[in-house]
């Protein structure tokens, strides 16, 4: 349970060792490098140009991988998405640096091939369209653009609709009486169009065409110098050749797939160099030396110090950060609490001087989650799935591993509450036993069944809520005491304990309340009096002190009264825990609905088949919906009700200079 103590680090070394030192730091990933201001001696080097080249090359490698993924997809086992990055030794990495240029060429080649294939592929439909256009003209045995003879002109074109030769002549005659020497040949006729080859004497050709135009005649868009059948053969040959070229290019892409690993490495290589050069840009450099400043977790200091001093001449200094410095935050927790670090981080990391709430939160997180899902069957599925992944994928990334562990613990808690409340896939045990085996076997609740006694669970939820809130207040007390503000701790925490605690106890002395909640006891009036006095004192304390910042007594009183008004927020906070009951019931009742639907055909083979199908689909759905619900609402109870009492956050995450790669990670030398 802690925020890792951070130290400020200053490293001064010779420039000739710069590359080696930075590479070592990058592999260790323990130092966050800080940007510092320039002065007369030390200046920054401008690395933006180099970085943009690296970025470009990384993007190129990425593109090449994308091309390979499209043309020659990798066969991946089902669980591979859970697997982390591959491990790589330093030797493998050094060996790759020799192949780097060659791999870059492969990347360029892949990019070029991809572009060419795309162009060629778009060419083919264009030619096919041309072939399509030629089809009605195939019968024509002279070139489409016929030069004519000494005395005649010839042209081709189409009339809309189906025409007979006679019909055309008659129509033509009626439109242009003077035209006499025209010869029309129908090349092809279909319902859409009639294709014509028209020959006329030079003097009448124009007139004939005009007359035909009035009938809707139009010349085709593409007219070739060749005989249509020849042209078609030519086009088809070209398509075939193009296809062969595409096939060759695709084959080449396939043959380049063996470089996939190298391309991945190339991407990582440039991503790392880009990161490294980003750091170089932040360094203070003189002619022969450089200075690096940053933060390091105190626990990493000895290892790094011995390693650096063993290999290089360096001056290393570690300072305690100044109190007002913006120190980055890293969390360190035990095995049970570490998995929920991500939840804390998704709210906000602890701010300056704040306590890490993770370990306290973790306990409640698991308990609340379990109560909301509260089904032993679902819990066991979660446990099985998470342990399977954790055992099967050793190489899993740490973030994913933590989530898996979190859901594993949540699953254990879910199983526990399921046993307490008698939920195993809803009422599946009882339903199956009575429908198929005619026995009255049921999965008995160890404690009680919420469906039968909802008030009891509601009271328990409120009780859990009060404990949760009071622990939150306790955290505030601890936090204030740690900062030496004992008085504030009394004013802001103890008085609230008195007011809220007293009020709750006082309520329990009222017959009406205990009856409503179904409690078997009512506290005696004496206890009530004491509780009322305690609550009253708490309220007075709050009125007197919550406006203590104001000097004006009237203003202070008003602020104090407003402070007491805050008790309503406690009321709504406590009521908010009723969602434990509601979501717990929702899981159980929806499961029951599905079980009931499954038994609609009764016993027997048909009934068993229907039951199995409904059971599988229904419970998968229910598990999905309620898992989401439990996750979201557990987070809400933590973020709003619990953190609202003491936690502010606002810390900046520790982001050390390291190898932030996508495909490979360095194997740690032992």
């Amino acid at each position: 349970m802690a925020v890792l103590p951070m130290k400020r680090l200053q490293l001064c070394a010779l420039k000739k060792n710069r590359k080696a030192i930075l590479e070592l730091l990058q592999r260790r990933g323990a130092v966050e490098v800080q940007d510092t201001a320039e002065d007369e001696v030390f200046t920054h080097a401008d690395m933006s140009q180099a970085r943009s080249i690296f970025q470009k090359n990384a993007a190129l490698a990425n593109q090449a991988l994308d091309v390979l993924a499209r043309f020659a997809p990798e066969q991946k086992p089902l669980l591979s998405m859970l697997e982390g990055r591959q491990e790589m030794t330093l030797e493998e990495y050094t060996a790759f640096q020799d192949r780097q240029d060659e791999t870059l060429k492969v990347a360029y080649r892949l990019q070029a091939l991809d572009k060419r294939v795309a162009e060629q592929r778009s060419e083919i439909p264009r030619m096919q369209a041309q072939v399509e256009e030629l089809t009605p003209w195939l019968e024509l045995d002279v070139p489409m653009r016929h030069p004519g003879t000494h005395a005649t002109d010839s042209f081709v074109g189409a009339l809309p609709g189906e025409w007979t030769l006679e019909g055309i002549y008659t129509e033509l005659k009626s439109r242009a009486e003077s035209v006499s020497a025209v010869d029309i040949e129908i090349v092809s006729a279909s319902r859409e169009q009639t294709c014509l080859f028209v020959t006329a004497t030079k003097s009448e050709a124009q007139q004939a065409e005009d007359a035909l135009r009035e009938m809707g005649f139009a010349r085709p868009a593409h007219v070739t110098h060749r005989v249509p059948a020849d042209k078609k053969r030519l086009l088809e040959e070209r398509i075939e050749k193009l296809q062969a070229k595409i096939d060759a290019d695709v084959a080449e892409i396939h043959s380049l797939a063996e470089h996939r690993q190298d391309l991945k490495l190339l991407f990582d290589f440039y991503a790392m160099r880009e990161e490294k050069y980003g750091v170089i840009g932040k360094l203070m450099q003189s002619k022969r030396t450089f200075v690096l400043t940053g933060y390091i977790a105190a626990r990493d200091i000895p290892a790094l110090e011995t390693e650096l001093t063993a290999h290089f001449d360096v001056a290393l200094d570690f300072f305690e950060p100044a109190p007002d410095e913006d120190v980055p935050v890293a969390l360190k927790n035990g095995p049970l609490a570490a998995p929920v670090e991500g939840v804390v981080a998704s709210y906000s990391l602890p701010g300056r001087g704040e306590v890490d709430p993770t370990s306290v939160m973790a306990v409640f997180y698991y308990v609340l989650f379990g109560m909301m899902l509260s089904d032993a069957g679902y819990g066991l599925i979660m446990v099985a799935a998470c342990s399977f992944v954790l055992l099967k994928c050793k190489n899993i990334e740490s973030g994913l591993k933590k989530s898996m562990q979190m859901f594993l613990y949540c699953g254990i808690s879910t199983t526990f509450w399921g046993v307490m409340f008698g939920g195993f896939f809803g009422d599946a045990v009882g339903v199956i036993a009575s429908t198929f085996f005619h026995s009255d076997l049921t999965f008995k609740a160890l404690w009680f069944e919420p469906v039968n006694e909802p008030m009891r669970l509601l009271v328990f939820s409120f009780l859990l809520g009060i404990i949760h809130l009071f622990v939150g207040l306790g955290m505030k007390f601890y936090q204030l005491c740690r900062e030496g503000k004992v008085k504030d701790a009394v004013y802001d925490v103890v008085f609230w304990y008195m007011l809220v605690g007293g009020a709750v106890v006082y309520l329990l002395t009222m017959q009406m309340i205990t009856d409503m909640m179904g409690l078997s006891f009512t506290l005696s009036p004496t206890v009530g009096t004491v509780a009322a006095v305690v609550a009253g004192l708490g309220a007075l304390g709050i009125i007197a002190f919550s406006g203590r910042d104001s000097r004006n007594p009237f203003k202070r009183l008003l602020k104090g009264l407003y402070g007491v008004y805050g008790v309503t927020s406690y009321l709504s906070d406590i009521l908010s825990y009723s969602r434990l009951l509601a979501l717990g019931l929702a899981t159980g009742v929806i499961a029951t609905v599905f079980n009931k639907m499954g038994t609609m055909l009764g016993g027997g083979v048909g009934g068993a088949i229907l039951f199995t199908v409904v059971f599988l689909i229904g419970h998968t759905l229910n598990i999905g919906i309620n898992l989401l619900g439990a996750y979201v609402h557990t987070n809400r109870l933590q973020f709003v009700e619990f953190f609202g009492k003491f936690y502010e956050g606002g810390g900046r995450g520790f982001s050390p200079f390291g190898a932030h790669t996508k495909y490979f990670k360095f194997k740690e030398e032992k």
Binding site: L585, A586, I625
Partner: protein, 160 residues
């Protein structure tokens, strides 16, 4: 006259499923449109955006739940369907919170979801917060669910 009791009870159950279901259908639809846009830009977001889309879907399920326990309590799913008019009206009233709150909260939650999807697209690291904002709205659906459940179970024990 006594036959009207069961009719009102069933009307209540139907309203709970109807209104909450309509709300969730509208809500999930709205969020789905936003989600589709987000996925167009970056297909890798699918898993997380889907979660945000599903958030307004719970009201429909709560409505179903209320409808179902009402059906079992009033004997429609087997058993006798004898009921006084007063009792039938009580069941009807008990179902109303879930129906109405379900309808409005699902739509409002969907609007928060849509905004959260936008936020998640611009700043993917805020996913945790993006989930919480729509979930705040759901609180009221849960409270309505609670009151409906408690009422329905309570009415079963009444002797009128």
């Amino acid at each position: 006259m006594s036959s009207l009791g069961i009719a009102f009870a069933l009307l209540g159950a139907a309203l709970a499923a109807l209104l909450a279901g309509i709300g969730s259908a509208i809500g999930v639809g709205m969020a789905g449109e936003a989600a589709a846009g987000a996925i167009t830009e970056e297909p890798g977001r699918f898993g997380k955006v889907l979660i945000l889309q599903l958030l307004p879907g719970t009201q429909g399920i709560y409505g179903l739940l209320i409808a179902f326990i009402t059906l079992t309590q009033i004997g429609i799913m087997g058993g006798s369907a004898e009921m006084s008019l007063a009792k039938g009206l009580l069941y009807f009233c008990a179902c109303l919170p879930m129906g109405f709150v379900g309808l409005w909260s699902a739509i409002r939650q969907a609007r928060a979801s849509v905004a959260s999807i936008g936020m998640f697209c611009k700043r993917p690291e805020t996913f945790g917060k993006a989930i919480i904002l729509p979930a705040m709205v759901e609180t009221y659906a849960i409270l309505a669910l609670l009151i409906s459940i408690l009422s329905i179970f309570g009415i079963g024990g009444l002797n009128i």
